[in-house]
């Protein structure tokens, strides 16, 4: 009798899993990410990542890449007399460092993004602005313009490409370039499966970007031991200056 309850729980779990298995695999697209994570080393200059998988042929795949959330301070520019200058400071919180929306081919999506709850404009909902009396409607478009100029925010039409459907399924493939100004942190990749213009399912994958080797060592030294780092920077600068000075002296002597 004592074994009956756990056995029942186990059996019902197995039944649930078996029952849920095929339905889940039919709808939830398995997303392949290549490479699985990104290392920022000495010669990092940005990196292309590839996202791929298979979905039913009558569905669409929309991919969002965003993160990490950050807090930033900005100067607002304004005109005083004939001069353009900084006129006040604003702080923005909970804005992702990077936001990219990869839209599928074969359909115009931009017009319907707002009703679908997708796109750059939606970021405004979660953004926190300080001082609280600052006008987010004025600041947000400027913020987006600044991010777009750095290639950190974008909505890319036809970025998700499909193969010819076979057996009711089609293969999707999207390529995205992490820019050279990418920062280390946890990014989220949200795959939204669309059917008849509505989100059917959303899966979220985490994508890690981390600094490695020399870059990591320099950054840790700069932040954890700032004074020693500063003195080392000066000593190395003096050494290089002196060595090149001596080299020139020898060249002149010859």
């Amino acid at each position: 009798m004592q074994l009956r309850k756990p056995l029942l729980v186990l059996l019902s779990t197995v039944v649930l899993l078996v029952g849920a298995g095929p339905a889940s695999s039919a709808q939830t697209p398995a997303l392949g990410i290549n490479p699985a994570h990104l290392d920022i080393g000495t010669f990092f200059s940005g990196r292309r990542i590839s996202l791929s998988g298979s979905i039913p042929s009558d569905r669409d795949m929309v991919i969002e890449i965003k993160g990490p959330d950050e807090k930033g301070a900005f100067n607002m520019k304004g005109r005083v007399g004939p001069f353009w200058m900084n006129r006040g400071k604003v702080e923005l919180e909970k804005a992702p460092f990077l936001y990219m929306l990869l839209l599928p081919e074969g359909k115009e999506w931009h017009a319907s993004l707002s009703s679908l709850g997708l796109g750059i404009e939606q970021l405004k909902q979660t953004l926190v602005i300080k001082p609280h009396n600052a006008n987010l409607d004025v600041v947000f478009p400027r913020f987006v313009q600044l991010k777009q100029s750095e290639h950190l925010y974008g909505e890319l039409q036809d970025a998700v490409r499909y193969s010819q459907p076979t057996g009711g399924m089609k293969h999707f493939d999207a390529k995205f370039y992490f820019p050279s100004s990418t920062v280390a942190g946890e990014y989220r990749i949200l795959n939204r499966l669309f059917h008849n213009g509505k989100v059917e399912e959303t899966t979220v994958r985490s994508f890690t970007v981390e600094e490695v080797g020399f870059i990591k060592a320099v950054r840790e030294l700069a932040y954890d031991r700032g004074l020693i780092y500063g003195i080392l920077c000066v000593l190395i600068a003096l050494f290089v200056g002196a060595v090149i000075g001596l080299l020139f002296r020898r060249t002149e002597a010859h």
Binding site: I40, G41, T42, F43, F44, S45, G46, G72, A73, F74, N75, M76, K77, G78, R79, V80, P82, F83, W84, M85, N86, R87, K89, V139, R142, F143, Q145, L146, S149, E150, S180, S181, T182, V183, E211, F214, I215, K216, V218, R219, A222, Y223, G226, L227, Y229, G230, I231, L232, C233, V234, I236, A237, L238, V240, G241, A242, I244, G245, F248, R249
Partner: protein, 314 residues
């Protein structure tokens, strides 16, 4: 990016930015050349150039100070060997500069509390650059013309009120390298004045210090260059350590690439400066200062493309 060998790129750990190695070394060389040629640190030129290629403004300014340490060390050494460094004068100006700089930091704090300090900073920049550049340019032009017209003829000048006041001041001392006998108070006060301006404008102050030494201390141009570099060296050592310790904005990788170029440039600059006359050097520096002033003025008058910038930037 396409078609470019990726190994030429290098990632900057503090700036969070990847840069093309030859571009950064080339920039360093160009600014180092100016440093060796005119005795200026080049911060007023290098920082805007770095911002233009995507380096955050605070990192650009702090890392530039670090590279100036190497360029000015290399330049000071080159000029010292040529007998162009007045160490005594440089130390007094430096003491004045440190006192003035500390005062300047307090002034900027006060200005920020009063609001719109940025306007005053930028306007000070334009007025100083415009005034110094124009005066140097015109004076050098007159000098070149009079040299051509009256080669070898001594010019007798009437003593100005400034010269009379300076002559009456106590604590006179001999500055052998500069060939002048002047009160200690003069370089101390002038160093303090440059220190205040440098702190307000956020620069090393070389482009203000050089005209001060030429026109107010009446030092020979070649000694001015060496002595200015000597003073800049110590100012930038202080700034680098302070910025690394307090703000974590010194990017060593960026500074290293810049300083490889700038130390080489400084050596070439020092060599070229020996081949040019004092008036020619002054007119070239004046032209450079005026170009930067015009660029800044245009920046103030034209509407920026994006009406938002990162805090700490321009």
């Amino acid at each position: 990016m396409k078609g470019v060998d990726m190994s030429w790129f290098i990632y900057l750990p503090i700036a969070h930015h990847s840069v093309l190695l030859p571009v950064i070394v080339g920039l360093g060389f160009l600014v180092g050349l100016l440093s060796g040629l005119f005795g200026v640190g080049g911060g007023f030129l290098m920082t805007p150039l770095l911002i233009m290629i995507g380096i955050p403004p605070t990192v650009a300014a702090a890392s530039d100070s670090n590279q100036i340490v190497a360029a000015s060390a290399s330049g000071t050494y080159a000029h010292y060997r040529l007998g162009n460094v007045d160490v005594k004068m440089g130390l007094i100006l430096l003491i004045g500069g440190v006192i003035g700089g500390t005062g300047g930091v307090q002034i900027i704090k006060l200005l920020r509390q009063l609001g719109n300090a940025d306007f005053l900073i930028q306007l000070t920049y334009v007025i100083m650059l415009g005034g110094v550049g124009s005066y140097m340019f015109l004076e050098s032009l007159q000098g070149l013309r009079s040299t051509e017209a009256k080669a070898g003829t001594p010019v007798s000048k009437k003593e100005s009120a400034y010269a009379r006041v300076i002559r009456r001041l106590p604590f006179k001392t001999n500055f052998d390298k500069s060939g002048i006998n002047i009160s200690l108070i003069v370089p101390l006060v002038l160093g303090g004045f440059v220190g205040i301006l440098a702190a307000i404008m956020g620069v090393g102050g070389g482009f203000i210090m050089v005209p001060v030494m030429v026109y107010l201390l009446r030092m020979p141009m070649h000694v001015v260059i060496g002595t200015s570099l000597f003073q800049i060296l110590f100012t930038c050592i202080n700034v680098t350590i302070m910025q690394a310790h307090s703000n974590h904005t010194v990017d060593f990788v960026l500074a290293l690439l810049l300083l490889i170029g700038s130390t080489l440039g400084a050596q070439f600059g020092a060599k070229i400066s020996r081949k040019l006359k004092g008036e020619q050097l002054k007119i070239l520096l004046a032209s450079l200062v005026l170009v930067v002033m015009v660029k800044m003025l245009i920046g103030l008058l034209l509407q920026p493309h994006i009406l938002l910038s990162y805090y700490g930037g321009d």
